[in-house]
């Protein structure tokens, strides 16, 4: 602090001034008013409700288009949205799941999705006899995003998105990616996981099963 600073400090530090009479009136009015709630406090109070609403919205957006099918011995699985007919392919053993496929492995893309026939009836209640079974739909021709994951011995789970789409949208792809990561973290024996095109998967699985079937 230099001399100038010191001069101002010592002279002005105790300086006082008498306020106008209306200053207290303002203070008096201000004290009588109900304190205004700050925007930040309002946002902070609403945050939990917004979070719950976001979760509900997310579930409402994605739940109707997704199902998990877990196949276990002797269990019947219901595929209410799957178009008919459903063909059960029963691999013999040790079917590897290779989702890293070359374009030449697949048939040419199908044209726009055909109208799905809702002939579900009895075929939806499929008696399954082994945990190594997978359900496929041979007549399904549209592009459908699928999440397929399996154990070392065979494909055991197929989690299809029943929303028929030409292309997997970013939102669906993002959700499936998160689901895949969750599964791989929670299920230690999962060896293959991925988001695939239903037609491509069916084609590839049939090819692989064909090579393993005597």
């Amino acid at each position: 602090m230099n001399k100038l600073d010191q001069h101002f400090k010592t002279t002005l530090e105790g300086h006082t001034a008498t306020p106008s009479s209306n200053v207290w009136e303002k203070v008096n009015i201000g004290l009588s008013e109900k304190p205004a709630r700050s925007p930040w406090r309002i946002i902070r109070n609403l945050a939990p409700y917004a979070a719950v609403a976001s979760v509900v919205l997310a579930i409402a957006l994605f739940y109707p288009s997704t199902r998990t099918i877990e196949v276990s011995p002797g269990q019947n699985i219901a595929l209410p949205e799957m178009p008919t007919p459903i063909k059960v392919i029963q691999p013999t053993e040790n079917v590897p799941v290779d989702l890293d496929l070359a374009a030449s492995d697949f048939p040419a893309p199908t044209p726009s999705p055909k109208k799905i026939r809702r002939e579900v009836e009895s075929v939806l209640e499929l008696p399954l006899h082994s945990p190594k079974q997978i359900a496929t739909n041979s007549s399904f021709e549209s592009v459908q995003p699928m999440l397929v994951y399996g154990k070392a011995s065979a494909i055991e789970y197929i989690e299809p998105s029943f929303a028929l789409v030409e292309n997997v949208s970013d939102a669906v792809g993002s959700w499936l990616g998160k689901r895949a990561r969750t599964l791989s973290e929670n299920t230690t024996d999962v060896v293959a996981i991925g988001v695939v095109n239903w037609e491509k998967t069916k084609h590839t699985l049939n090819q692989k099963i064909a090579t393993l079937t005597p």
């Binding site: 100038l4 002005l12 001034a17």
Partner: protein, 165 residues
């Protein structure tokens, strides 16, 4: 003054008025170092409302007067920031002749009020309140370098005015 704390916290308006009568001249003196008279009185009323509505936040560790002064200084700085006056570098008004003031304090107060708002704020905070440049930078949302530069310019302007009188 401390004896007024309890009744003021309880919302006793007479006690609040007594505290105001006691402290408002001191706090207005602070406001006038940063702001023009009209603005200073507005800042004082806002500061006093905050003081009287936040008495429960005074922890009693430091002096009560110091706590009130800090609230007042921050209210003045808020006022300056809201007006976006910190970037002004022009002198504000003419300074009356030195011999027209009744006291040296009035003379220096008038001199300080002719400084551009940003320079005035930095000079007050550094020279009178005793804050360092890092603290000033944080309070005024400027860099420490800007604080140093504005202090230097404020000193130079004040010195020139004093020398010319």
């Amino acid at each position: 003054m401390e004896h007024l704390l309890g009744p003021c916290r309880a919302g006793n308006r007479k006690a609040q008025k007594a505290l105001y009568d006691l402290m408002s001249p001191v706090l207005l003196g602070i406001c006038l170092r940063y702001l023009k008279r009209e603005e200073a009185e507005e800042a004082l009323s806002n500061a006093f409302i905050k003081i009287l509505t936040r008495l429960d936040k005074y922890d009693g560790l430091g002096s009560f007067e110091g706590w009130m002064k800090r609230i007042t200084v921050r209210e003045c700085l808020t006022y300056i920031r809201l007006k976006k006056d910190l970037d002004q570098t022009d002198w504000e008004g003419d300074l009356p002749a030195a011999n027209s003031f009744s006291s040296e304090a009035d003379h220096l107060m008038a001199l300080i009020q002719t400084l551009p708002p940003g320079y005035r704020a930095v000079f007050n905070l550094f020279a009178i309140e005793g804050f360092n440049h890092n603290e000033i930078a944080e309070m005024l949302a400027i860099s420490p370098g800007t604080s140093k530069s504005q202090l230097s310019k404020a000193r130079k302007l004040l010195q020139e005015r004093l020398n010319n009188e």
